[in-house]
C-alpha cells in the first residue's frame, strides 16, 4: 500500500484537520466528526444534513456551504457514521424550519439515520424528514436486494435541494424537490481498478490487468459483471444504455449530464468519456442542458468513472444554476 498518510487509524482525523485548515469558512467539530456551515444555524432556513462513510471525497464535507449542505457527517472509511454524529449535526443546523436528512441507500446509512431521526425528534422536537437517494441502475432487482444504491445523483440532490432551501422554501417542498431529482436521475459506474481501504492495506478485490468491472458502487464492492477492457466509446455505451433503457429521458428540458471520476482517473479521460456520452445522447435525441465533469463522489483510489443523467425541467435547471459556495463546488458567488 502506497498512500499519503501517517497512520491508517488517523486518516479521517488528519484529513479533517487539513480540511479545516484549508477552508476556514466552515466549522469542523472534531469530537463528532462533523463539518458545519460557518453561519449555521441559518434562522428560518431548512437545514440540510448528509453524511456517509469517508472515502468519497469531496462528498459530503466538500459540499457544505451556502447553496448546498448545512452539515456533513464523516463516518469511518466506507462505513456509515453513527447516530450521535447525525444528532449533533441536526442540532447544529436547526434554524427552526426543520432539517432534511439526505441519505444514500445503504443498509447501514439507512439504519443509523433512522436511529438519529428517532433520537433527535424524541429529545429535541426538531422536525426531521429523510430523503433516500437510490439511482444506481446496476442493481436491478430490488425485491431480492437492499434496493438501488445511492451514487452520483447524491451530488445533484444536494446541490438542487440546497438551492431550494436557500430560497427559504419550507421543509416539505425542499424534500419534494430532493425526491424529484432522485426519481429523475439514473447512474451506472465502472471500475478499471479496485481500491485500497487504508485500514485493510490491500485492494478490496482483485481485478486483473486487461479486465474491468461493470456496475460497481462506490465502496469497492464488486460489480455485476467482469469484462475485457474496451475503448471509451464502448464503455460509454455500457454505462449509458442501461440508464436510457431504465427511464425515458426525452420530452423534457434535456438532461444534466454528470461524468464522475472514481478517484484515480485523470480528468483528461473523464473528458474523453464525456465526449462519448454526449455523442450517444445526441443520437438518442436528448439535449445536454448542463454538465458536470470531475471527481465529485469517489471511491478512494479506484480508477474508473460513473455516468449520471438527470432529466431536467425548468425548476431543476433554475436551482442547478443558483449560486453555490462550498469547498468543492463554487460558482455564481
Amino acid at each position: 500500500m502506497k498512500k499519503l498518510i501517517n497512520d491508517p487509524a488517523n486518516v479521517i482525523s488528519d484529513a479533517l484537520l487539513g480540511f479545516a485548515a484549508a477552508h476556514p469558512d466552515v466549522r469542523v467539530d472534531y469530537e463528532n466528526r462533523i463539518v458545519v456551515r460557518g453561519d449555521a444555524p441559518v434562522q428560518g432556513k431548512v437545514g440540510l444534513v448528509s453524511g456517509g462513510g469517508s472515502g468519497h471525497e469531496p462528498l459530503h464535507a466538500g459540499f457544505v456551504g451556502p447553496g448546498m449542505l448545512d452539515a456533513a457527517c464523516a463516518g469511518e472509511v466506507f462505513t456509515s457514521p453513527v447516530p450521535d454524529q447525525m444528532v449533533a449535526a441536526t442540532k447544529a443546523v436547526d434554524g427552526g424550519a426543520g432539517v432534511l436528512h439526505i441519505v444514500k441507500n445503504y443498509t447501514g446509512d439507512i439504519m443509523n439515520f433512522e436511529l438519529a431521526a428517532e433520537m433527535v425528534e424524541a429529545e429535541h422536537g426538531t422536525q426531521v424528514v429523510s430523503v433516500v437517494v437510490d439511482d444506481d441502475v446496476a442493481v436491478q432487482d430490488s425485491l431480492y436486494t437492499a434496493g438501488r444504491r445511492g451514487v452520483g445523483a447524491t451530488v445533484l440532490v444536494e446541490k438542487i435541494a440546497g438551492a431550494a432551501a436557500e430560497e427559504g422554501r419550507p421543509l416539505g417542498e425542499v424534500a419534494d424537490v430532493a425526491r424529484r431529482v432522485n426519481s429523475y436521475a439514473r447512474s451506472m459506474g465502472l471500475a478499471l481498478t479496485s481500491c485500497t481501504v487504508p485500514a485493510a492495506g490491500k485492494p478490496t478485490f482483485d481485478l486483473p490487468e486487461g479486465e474491468m468491472e461493470v456496475g460497481i458502487g462506490i465502496h469497492g464492492e464488486p460489480g455485476r459483471r467482469r469484462v475485457p477492457v474496451a475503448p471509451a466509446n464502448e464503455i460509454a455505451d455500457m454505462l449509458v444504455s442501461p440508464i436510457l433503457s431504465d427511464l425515458d429521458f426525452t420530452g423534457g428540458e434535456g438532461v444534466i449530464a454528470f461524468v464522475n471520476g472514481m478517484g484515480a482517473t485523470p480528468l483528461i479521460e473523464l473528458y474523453v468519456m464525456f465526449n462519448e456520452v454526449s455523442q450517444i445522447l445526441a443520437k438518442a435525441g436528448i439535449p445536454v442542458a448542463r454538465s458536470l465533469v470531475g471527481p465529485y463522489i469517489t471511491s478512494l483510489d479506484m480508477a474508473g468513472c460513473s455516468v449520471t443523467l438527470l432529466k431536467a425541467d425548468d425548476e431543476i435547471l433554475r436551482l442547478w444554476d443558483a449560486p453555490v459556495n462550498t469547498p468543492a463546488l463554487r460558482r455564481g458567488v
Binding site: 462513510g53 469511518e76 472509511v77 432487482d141 436486494t145 481501504v197 478490496t204 465502496h219 469497492g220
Partner: protein, 197 residues
C-alpha cells in the same frame, strides 16, 4: 446467571472478535465492503474500555451499556443491528437472566431493525438456530453449535439484504460475515456461561 458472568461473556466476545478480526474482514471483502472485522473490533474494544471504567451493576444495565456503546462506535449496519439487539436484551433481562429469553429478544430486535428473514444470508441465520436450541432446553454449547451450523448454511445462499445483495448470484459460495460474528457471540457464551445455564 449474574452480572459478573455476563460481563465475562461480553469480554470474551470482545476477545474473539479481536482474534478473528482478519477472518471477518476477509469474509466481508468477498461479499461486502471489507470492514466488518475492523468495525466490530472498534466497537467491542470501546465496550471493554467502558466496562473497565464503569463496572455495571445489573444484567440490564450491562446490556444497555453494551448496546449504546456499539450504536455510538460501530456505524455501518452492524452498529445499529448489534446495538438494537443488546438494547432489546437489556429490556428483557430480569434479575435472573434466562439466556433463551434475552437472546430471543435480541433476535427480534435484529429482525425489526434490519427487516431480514431467515435465509437472507444475514446475522439472523446464525442467531435464530441458536435461540431455537436454547428454547428447546439445549445447552449453551449446543446453541453455539447450532449457530455454527447456521453460519455454514449461509455459504450457498444468495444474499438478499445489505451490500452483499448487490452481488446477486456472486454472493453464493461465501459465509456471511454477520452470521460469522454471531457464532463468536455464542462461542463466547459457551465458554463463559456454559455451566451456568
Amino acid at each position: 446467571m449474574d452480572t459478573e458472568a455476563l460481563t465475562a461473556w461480553i469480554r470474551e466476545f470482545a476477545r474473539l472478535i479481536s482474534a478473528n478480526k482478519a477472518e471477518l474482514t476477509e469474509l466481508d471483502s468477498a461479499i461486502g465492503d471489507g470492514d466488518h472485522g475492523a468495525n466490530m473490533d472498534r466497537g467491542m474494544t470501546a465496550v471493554v474500555s467502558v466496562l473497565d471504567a464503569e463496572p455495571q451493576e445489573s444484567p440490564s444495565a450491562l446490556f444497555k451499556k453494551v448496546g449504546m456503546t456499539l450504536i455510538s462506535k460501530v456505524g455501518g449496519a452492524s452498529g445499529p443491528l448489534y446495538g438494537t439487539a443488546f438494547l432489546r436484551m437489556a429490556a428483557a433481562a430480569g434479575d435472573d437472566v434466562d439466556l433463551a429469553k434475552v437472546l430471543r429478544a435480541g433476535l427480534d430486535g435484529v429482525i425489526a431493525r434490519g427487516k431480514a428473514e431467515p435465509g437472507d444470508k444475514t446475522m439472523v441465520d446464525a442467531l435464530a438456530p441458536a435461540v431455537a436450541a436454547l428454547e428447546a432446553g439445549k445447552s449453551v454449547q449446543a446453541a453455539a453449535a447450532a449457530a455454527d451450523q447456521g453460519r455454514e448454511a449461509t455459504i450457498p445462499l444468495v444474499a438478499r439484504k445489505g451490500r452483499a445483495s448487490y452481488l446477486g448470484e456472486r454472493s453464493a459460495g461465501h459465509a456471511d460475515p454477520g452470521a460469522t460474528s454471531v457464532t463468536l457471540l455464542l462461542a463466547a457464551a459457551a465458554t463463559t456461561l456454559g455451566d451456568k445455564a
